[in-house]
Symmetry: C2
Subunit: 472 residues, 2 copies
């Protein structure tokens, strides 16, 4: 299926499938499918198919609440993957064959090539690999999107891989359309249905505080000569904190910046509109209705400054390392040593997935993770003795930011990291507890490289499960 965020995913065929699946289940028949996508999709796809109990396997990312519940109750097998690796691993062959690709497009050209929609995701790979292709031509999509996309056809399996010839975030290295063998197309469905991305509420106080600490840090790095005055290509995760950080850049004094990221959110579009951002490269346009209207209203000015790429390119380690991205991603929790959990609440219940955060964090010039210092009205501390699940190891987490402050952990050994993270990032309500844990770990741990009290390390999470709070 096409789709990366609630953008560019098929809206009619999955709904029709869900009805067929429900009918089959009504007759007592088994009917469920494996769904591969770019990343998350919209309610007509993951929502409807999960509600119909029609998904037996899902990869590589989900954020739909119904599908999430089915995953966490064990009804859907879910493979949570690095987004850059989906296409190459599908080509490796161990994931099996792909029966049918269902791809939303903006249009079909006379030569059979396809005008992509609001997300590119893995569509090139799906079209190339599928035995049969169903196209949804969505007339809701703006025809002016044509030419915004950059579909790179130079990937290969080893030993035939070559350097990807991209050296600036706004380089175009491919072609604006998908190639598609017309003989594979078994159906064309016309739709007129909107993408379903939501407009985010304005940043709250916590998000603004996080943005403030992060912007101060970026200014400091420029003043120290460790970052160019217009920074380096920005990568930003999605959500309210990311939105606040980007909104904060609107009032910053940096010369026009660039973005090399996986989604263009509302506030990134606004940075393009004011000229704070010279260009933005991503795999999807994750724009709420009002922002989408602003894009339409300013298409002439913005068209050539937005580049939509396959996610194997937008998230490619080679390019992220080369460009030196500043990676800014949200997290569920971090521990005092800077390990980050991006995916699993209390170690077992998945929220969304690792997405592209691993692609960016490990290869970034500076890898930054952000979150409010508490969750659930203060019952949960974002800073814990030991994360309940690890997505990003300490080596890949250089800066932690909460509303309380920022910890620049670059170059620090684990013990130095711990002191800084407790002091700068933990909420004052939890700081004494963390200090007490760390002090005792320094005395009682088996080894002192990364002092750990194994019998207590995950007790905060267990306490939350038992009592609804991490407080003692």
């Amino acid at each position: 299926m096409s789709g990366f965020t609630a953008a560019g995913y098929p809206k009619a065929v999955p709904l029709a499938m869900a009805r067929r699946i429900e009918d089959a289940h009504g007759r007592g028949e088994k009917f469920a499918v494996q769904i591969w996508s770019g990343a998350s999709t919209g309610p007509e796809l993951d929502g409807a198919l999960a509600k119909a109990d029609g998904i037996e396997f899902r990869m590589p990312y989900n954020s739909d609440p119904t599908a999430r519940d089915k995953i966490n109750s064990g009804k859907i097998e879910y493979l949570d993957m690095h987004l850059s690796q989906v296409a190459p691993m599908v080509w490796e062959g161990f994931l099996g064959t792909e029966d049918i690709a269902v791809i939303e497009v903006t249009g079909i050209r006379a030569d059979g090539s396809l005008i992509p929609s609001t997300s590119v995701g893995n569509n090139k790979t799906w079209i190339d690999r599928a035995q049969k292709v169903i196209l949804e031509v969505n007339r809701w999509q703006n025809p002016a999107l044509e030419g915004m996309h950059d579909i790179y056809y130079g990937t290969a399996l080893p030993p035939h891989r070559v350097p990807i010839p991209l050296v600036k975030p706004d380089d175009r290295i491919g072609e604006p359309w998908f190639r598609c063998d017309p003989d594979k197309v078994i159906a064309v469905v016309e739709t007129d249905a909107p993408d379903r991305n939501q407009t985010l509420p304005p940043p709250d106080t916590q998000a603004q505080a996080i943005a403030g600490h992060l912007l101060e840090f970026l200014h400091h790095e420029v003043s120290m000569g460790r970052l160019p005055s217009n920074l380096l290509p920005l990568q930003s995760g999605v959500g309210s904190v990311a939105n606040a950080v980007l909104a904060g850049l609107q009032t910053s004094s940096f010369p026009p910046m660039t973005a090399f990221t996986e989604v263009i959110q509302d506030s990134m579009l606004d940075l393009l509109l004011t000229g704070k951002l010279a260009s933005a490269s991503s795999a999807a346009l994750c724009l709420g209705p009002e922002a989408m209207q602003r894009l339409t209203d300013n298409m002439a000015e913005l068209h050539d400054r937005i580049i939509l790429r396959p996610q194997e390119i937008s998230n490619h380690p080679e390019l992220i390392r080369r460009l030196g991205c500043i990676a800014m991603n949200g997290m569920i929790e971090a521990d005092i040593y800077g390990n980050v959990n991006s995916t699993h609440v209390m170690g077992s219940r998945i929220m969304n997935g690792i997405g592209g955060s691993g692609d960016y964090a490990r290869n970034a010039y500076i890898s930054i993770f952000t979150a409010p210092s508490t969750a659930r009205n203060g019952a949960i501390s974002t800073i814990v003795p030991h994360v309940s699940h690890v997505d990003h190891i300490t080596q890949d987490v250089q800066v932690l930011v909460t509303d309380q402050g920022l910890a620049d952990m670059r170059g620090l050994s684990p013990k130095r990291r711990a002191s800084l993270v407790i002091e700068n990032c933990a909420h004052p309500d939890f700081r004494p507890l963390l200090k007490d844990y760390f002090d005792r770990a320094l005395r009682e741990s088996y080894g002192l490289q990364t002092p750990t009290l194994l019998s207590e390390a995950l007790s905060w999470h267990q306490r939350f499960i038992d009592s609804g709070s991490m407080h003692v």
Copy 2:
């Protein structure tokens, strides 16, 4: 300091420093230094300086037992880094300035350029960045090493980075010598001292069993058409299991293979000698005395088939992904979901460091981790409910191999992984305990994406600390 494994590290200056430090300490004076290297070094460097309490900070890797003890007792601050990131992060500037580089070389040429020694490591960066340079010219090193090295001078800070023009593992993209400003050289010390790599004992039964499972897997992948007949460039960690796997390749039927790795060990040299390996690229020659003699005896035949590179190139994510390396690394433990701990015994006591395993595992075509199924005479299970420290997340661990068998976890959700790992990799003595844990986690876990019993997850490790065994 130069040095990557016990190869090519300075042997005289660190010993002299250790004596000065001991003298100063004898007079009640403080004297300790920060040591940066390529990776591990030899006893005259880490051993002597640690013994003298002369190291206050060490990065990016250590395997010296004296230094390890001081790290784990909290006397040395140790920063355990991805080896590919050391040079770029030093250039970023946040690690501070580099006062003096002490570099072993094979010779000094008339134009001031330097003939590298048995390891390249970070020497290019150390020489370029240091304010002053001390050279150790070691006449023990074979002058015929000249020309074997490939020093790439095309790296830069972003936004000036460009594609690294390497498309085959044996491409030479640089020059055979280090450039060095003669004005920076404050001393030249002549030495005649051997590298101190050890000859590994022949593989034991467990290592042979692991090698057998792994070779069977590789043959299977070739037969399924998922690997070329001569495989893809091999990366192999160090140690007895890695040695056994490479020895096993000696009797395999694959056409001449290649290696793109960070160290060339004894058995890899033997693969070159028999022609099983066409070429090998690495950052160091980690050869025991007999193997070093075999290299000397066959230098004419081997010289052009060995390429020694800076570790920022040998371990570069861009190149590992492009070449599609088959990454084979050892581990301390893995959990049932395929998270791997490569570094911390019982979660807190560091063994060596992550080294290059993260560089390779995340970007490999197939990422394989190996270990015997038990340690300490059966008291420790290598497969545990929950690893006590995470170096490699499930997404980066595709195949686990123990003497019991192999788990090909590619494409599997966490629960499917768990069943397979318990069945195929766990030792029979621990299998019922693991099954029991997993069965109960399936019933009692907070969420069922990655079923976890938080109050038990780390109890096996605590039991070992308390009782000397993970057995109940």
